[in-house]
Symmetry: C2
DNA sequence: ACGGATATCCAAAGCGCTTTGGGAGGAAAG
DNA sequence: CTTTCCTCCCAAAGCGCTTTGGATATCCGT
């Protein structure tokens, strides 16, 4: 049923060469001819055979991903969401995945094997850490890659997509300060991940600008599960001088935090304000919380899609995308923030 | 650097045909010659070019997966773990993935597109529901597939890998009954998934055999997050005639349940017994709970690997695996179970 | 009207593998 | 001593695409 290039060319009375060129956007083909070809493609439903293309071009048409299987990552709620974005976009372009789970200790070997296998045209990297050794490694591998997030402390001369974590939490903190809050807590992600580091920095900066200090007793780092959110919040509330506002690095953490707050008999948005970072997880919408959450929002799925798009465009040399992107998170005010309670 | 078939053949003074046959296990090749070939492969590090193989054989050497993006599935903690198993095994055989996220409503179209694309040799299906319409659909698609789990109510004439959920919870329940428990609660997964249905059935059967009834007030169905585990347990404990034992469909649920129990001031293994199903999630080991958990154990990652193995063997027509497998879960007794408290 | 651009198109050579259709040589059979 | 039959090997034809290296025709200025 499926036609191939040869048949299509015959049908059009053209050579394979011309048809191929028409399809791949080469200039040496008459505009009218190109239209005819495109039309015929539509009518016949012609789809180039990827295997043949791979063989002829040497491209793999697939992107590799080393899936970390360290604790708290592979089973991370956020990971699936990001993956969905990648997959969605990849499938549109008929690209494959090579998913390679790997323990941190043999990550390097895994990357090398993947790059050498010729099975992938590009690699993708996530869960960036400060001074992440993996980026130097990837650079030496001579295979294109894009990083989700960005390292800290290295020259920033590699392609990445990150959100402005510093800015997001700076904005959020400033809002809280403007509302009169002085003691603000932070329930953050793991302390070795760059987004955590930056969010804390953003918060510290906003505080500093208003002559306030970041109280270390009000900062917790942990995996982003709601259990951890719950426990952190509970401990904050038990402190002698409990915070009147709290920032959460994920709505998942916020889920637990909210529970702890309710349990303490406090009212969110009145007794205590809460702002969470919202990765736009479909099953956890901030507007559906009993008290709708004020959030800094940036879709994780969209990020996955964007990275796939860039990776693919890079491989195909189609389209031109910036090499480095920093997305701003929107600060969306809902009911979980309010003026600081008067003593 | 990388050698190809032609070079390898030249090096050996053989034809490509013979080398190819030696490698692919054809009989018409002298045993000694085959050894020489194998030796040369080891020395040169020859790896067949997958693109060329795909083109020549028409096989895709990749397996397709429709990743459901319905609430509570894609971001499921358990999904990543399963995926890791699949990926690990696939990569060993140099197989690719085609990850296709799809909303339930266009799942059918997604499957069809995937099957028709010629980009995958086999499909994989999970999150089985009772009378799942997808298996009839897959059968009509004339593309091999394996199901993780199994449907209920249909003729069971399709390849699957499932664990004996009924048996697992039957065993668990029987143990509790033997320990003197009469009122046993169940914190289960979503009620439309077959594993939930079967686990409840297993529990009911064990109860019935001892003249006990399953009390509907003691059964909750929900997504398997610890939040839900917490809430369910809390509600159970508030009932007038609270249960003395509880079964959880996941250690994630157990996490929440344990929290609720502790909070109620009860001692696990003495005041109340708990048995959870353990999918062997690396970040949530039952032996690391404050009171080590008695569990029914079956590794989700192993299941993923096994399915990949079977799928790949089926495509390569190498090896012979059973078409249908039912794994028994082990009942492992730890400290969270004990005799029912005397009134 | 003519050499040289310019615009369009094509034939054919791969890419690296599998597979078809033999062919040589020796053993078994007649 | 032929004839037949294995056993083991090979040459060559694809698989469906891209790309090189021209062809051919048209158009330009002079």
């Amino acid at each position: 049923m499926a036609v191939n290039l040869k048949q299509l060319a015959e049908l059009l009375g053209l050579s394979q060469t011309t048809v191929s060129r028409a399809l791949n956007g080469y200039p040496e083909v008459n505009a009218e001819t190109r239209q005819r070809v495109l039309q015929a493609v539509r009518e016949t439903g012609y789809r180039p055979n990827r295997a043949a293309q791979r063989l002829a071009t040497g491209k793999a048409y697939s992107i590799g991903m080393v899936m970390p299987i360290a604790a708290g990552i592979d089973s991370d709620v956020h990971f699936g969401e990001f993956l969905a974005g990648l997959g969605e976009e990849a499938v549109k372009h008929d690209f494959h995945f090579v998913l390679n789970p790997s323990a941190p200790e043999d990550e390097e070997a895994t990357f090398q094997r993947l790059a050498a296998s010729g099975n992938v045209d590009a690699l993708f990297l996530a869960y960036m850490r400060a001074n992440d050794p993996r980026i130097a490694m990837l650079k030496s591998l001579s295979i294109p890659f894009v990083v989700h997030g960005r390292s800290i402390g290295e020259t920033r001369d590699y392609p990445f997509l990150d959100i402005d974590n510093t800015g997001a939490f700076y904005d959020a903190t400033r809002l809280l300060i403007q509302l009169g809050h002085q003691r603000i807590a932070l329930i953050n992600g793991p302390d070795y991940l760059t987004f955590s580091i930056r969010r804390m920095k953003g918060m510290a900066r906003a505080l500093a600008e208003h002559g306030l200090n970041l109280d270390e007793a009000l900062v917790h780092h942990s995996l982003m599960t709601d259990e951890h959110g719950y426990r952190s919040m509970q401990r904050f509330l038990q402190q002698p001088d409990a915070p009147t506002a709290v920032l959460c690095s994920s709505t998942v953490l916020a889920l637990g935090a909210v529970r702890a707050i309710n349990q303490a008999g406090l009212a969110i948005g009145r007794d205590i304000s809460l702002i969470a970072h919202d990765d736009v997880l479909p099953m956890l919408k901030p507007e559906n919380f009993s008290v709708p959450l004020t959030t800094t929002r940036s879709s994780l799925r969209a990020a996955g899609g964007r990275i796939a798009t860039r990776l693919i465009a890079g491989i195909l040399k189609s389209g031109d995308y910036p090499d480095q992107e920093l997305w701003r998170a929107e600060l969306i005010v809902r009911a979980s923030t309010g003026p600081a309670p008067q003593k």
